[in-house]
Amino acid sequence: MSLPSRLHSFASSLFHRAELDRNMEAEFRFHFDKYAEQLIQSGIAPDEARRRARLELGSLATQKENCRRSLGLRLWDELIADIRFGVRMLRKSPAFAIIAVLSLALGIGVNTTIFTLAKSVLLDRLQVPDPDQLRLLSWTSGKNFAMESLWGNFSDEGGAAHSSSFSYPVYKALRNQTNMFQPLFAFKDISQMTATVDGRAEAIYGELVSGNFYDGMRIHPALGRGISPADDVEGKANVAVLSDAFWARHFARSPDVIGKTININLLPVTIVGVNHPSFTGAEMSRFPEVFLPLSAQPTFLPRGKTGNLLTDPNSWWLQIIGRRIDSPNVSDSALESALDTPFLQVVKSTVTIKEGHDDLPHIRVQPGRRGLDYAKEEFIRPIYVLIALVVFVLLIACANLANLLLARSTARQREMSVRVAMGASRMRVVRQVVTESLLLSLAGGVGGVILGYLLRNLLPRLSSNPWEGIGLHPRFDLYVILFTLGVSVVTGLLLSIPQAFQGRREDVSSGLKEGTRSTASGHNFASKALVIFQISVSLVLLFGAGLFLKTLSNLRAAPIGFQPDRIVLFEIDPPRSRYTPEASLPLHQKILDALVAVPGVQSATLSSDPLVAQDSSINRFQRNDRPKDSKAEAWENNVGSNFFQTLQIPILAGRSFSSSDILTSPKVAIINQKLAHKYFADENPIGKTFNKEKYEIVGVCGDTKYEDLKSEAPPTFFLPYTQSFEANVTYEVRTFATGAEILKSLQQAVATVDKDLPLIHIRTQNEQIDATLSGQRIFALLTSAFGVLALILACIGIYGIMAYTVTRRTNEIGIRMALGAPRSKVLRMILGEASILTIIGVVIGVVTSLFLARLVTTMLYGLKPSDPAALSSAAFVLVAIALVAGWLPARRASQVDPMDALRHE
């Protein structure tokens, strides 16, 4: 028996059904005619001959069915019949069908949405050929590592340092070191560059790439050429490749863009190419818009002591990626050991190793299919919580629908019994049930795909700031559709389980009897279990909503230590290609003067780190009158002289900064209470000095939140920016009024100082604080919405089951009342039954909640994951609502007229 021939015949009979039918009929007709002819020849009368031929051959329909069965089409034919029948049944009750499909579409749609997001955070790969061959290099070392200056990602866990930043000399030495890799290539994402097109300056995200980057990634620009090795030579680096988005925004996709000149950090570059829309840089979830050769760094982005990182072996900043050769015999650890020796050699021969900082690094080879990947770390926990949430929502929708289906199938009991009595096997009946459930869930799945497509950008939008743009662009692709299909099938199977079980319990003869109720207990048990399940899941969601809402309000109510109203924030990043660190001091002073002169401005200041903006700088803190303690550290902020007045942070002792604290005057500092408390205890800190610069403490200020609202105010010292060189600063401007006009005046004021300086990330301090709460807000919103949805569904469930119980027991209730039971007792009896269901559900829900809540501990603020108030209010709400839902049928039961009830049967 050959499989291909079977498949072929199966497929051709499926897809050419009409032709197959015609052929069969022609064949049987031929046979019939021939046979009849023979009979006539043997002397039988024509009519009689035809009758006998028909008898012998059997009916045409039976013959056809038997032949189709021989072709292996039986299952298929039955499936088609089941589907037809299912569709007909659904058409007969369109209200039910619509409710079922909509609730499933909702349940499946939210799952599709979250999957799309989860996929982009966890699974999506760089859109380059064979991304699985890519490897990202990184290093680990003891925590006293030798690298003096690190720019880029760095983690310090369990006493080991880990980073993917390398120095340029290391890259150069490793580039052609092993033949297990194709030549290594390198890149660096630059989070802020100023691009000036047609006189308008804009802050953009950029990427520096090595000359062999485009070859290594195997990508080709959509227009022009990529960065080539010939560009990656200092002095020839004035070329740029644009992203598709930048090209569309500034050049309206005109092909004439090649050869045009734009300014990057105020220096001209020639556009040589435009990237394909699918390629968005070597970092997941970042979208660089201008690509420059690495050799552009010294001129366009001077940094470090000499401004030139390419010759500096002590600055580690560059990301290195390799495309490994395709050989299954070479493991990643073999790649590591092949690179480690030359790596150590070049580290030893180039890096200045100081005493106490002599832990040598070792190379690590990580998967590079997602390039440099921050998104995963950042979003993985919230994603898991979201997945749990939407699975709960789907389960509730399923439970509700399963209950509806059960009620329907009770109504269809006779039909099922008739089928079994007519000889349908149990399996056949169950298959019919499964087919109908799948029909519903697949229709829901189609709705889910549509919903998921419409909502695909909702969460990234909710979680991002208006002034920074969206960090995630989930790709809605075939995998999403396959996922939804899978979820729909699983949903359909889940839906059919209760009915299938019920079908098994059924007794044919009793099912056929008129008005019988022998199987009602089976239906009742499954329904009750489903209602209990719904109640417990609702409790979990309501409890989660309580936790996140309380966290949000706790965070909002947390004292922040400064007055955030009517403060406008924006950053100014004077390019070092125009302003040396020394030149940026007078620049900032000029800008401050210009800002204060704007009508409507109360006061203006600046700081190296804006408050509550997830920025932080940590520095060593070493009192000069104490022995050296290498572990002592404190948070640092470089601020303008009237920083404390502008933000209304109280000075508790000593003085504030003044305009006489300048570069040449003695170095001064102000510390906050936390730091005073930590390092000076009961001593008076005023007049004490710290660190090797011998900063003298001149004042103590009140504590303020620093990085975000969640963390306690850290020990912080403030330095006047006039005594340090801080180029990239955030301005804080307190205005009398808010609005677009004042923003315009501020922009004009800065333009009078230097028209090429863009105001970056303009927002108010309150918007800034709100943005740090986006995560909590999303969870509060989603858990509340889902919780309420679950509550409504659970109510319907309780109402349905109780109403059904009352109808079923009308007779019994009538007897009870006829025998003298008071109405109140009947009411209590029915309510008692509803309460038992609710209490069981609540108890299960409480246990589940307490178990699950531990997983979100780190996402909460100001309350424990077992917060009794949240738990008891969720339980209270559920019990109250459940009793209301149970009360309606209970009242109806208590108003039963015994005479009517007894006649009811």
């Binding site: 050959s2 079977r6 022609a26 064949e27 031929f30 013959q63 032949c67 021989s70 072709l71 292996g72």
Partner: protein, 112 residues
């Protein structure tokens, strides 16, 4: 009854044999089997076509539409190469089995 009914399973063998002698339409298969059995075998007309379709589905028979003796369109079945191999294998099995059965059934008490 002068005619024997055909056992399930042997029908396949009979059809393959009939068709191995030359392409035939369905009715022709019926006639040929009756003819070579000397009208000893009666084939249920209802079970002939399902068997033909099954054999074709399994790839042992192939079919073409052609002209019958009186110029009517008819579906002719023929043996495929695969079907011929299969038929030979089945035939050998059949022969061995019937020899075995014959020798078992003809065993006399003193031979045991």
């Amino acid at each position: 009854m002068g005619q024997m009914d055909v056992l399930q399973g042997t029908l396949d063998m009979l059809i393959l044999k009939a068709v191995s002698l030359g392409p035939l339409h369905g009715y022709g298969v019926l006639l040929r089997i009756q003819q070579i059995s000397g009208d000893q075998l009666e084939i249920q007309q209802g079970s002939l076509y399902p068997a033909l379709y099954r054999l074709e589905h399994q790839g042992w028979l192939a079919s073409d539409w052609g002209e019958s003796d009186n110029n009517r369109r008819a579906k002719f079945y023929r043996l495929t190469a695969q079907g011929r191999r299969r038929f030979n294998a089945e035939l050998e099995k059949w022969n061995r089995m019937s020899d075995l059965m014959a020798s078992i059934l003809s065993t006399r008490p003193e031979e045991v």
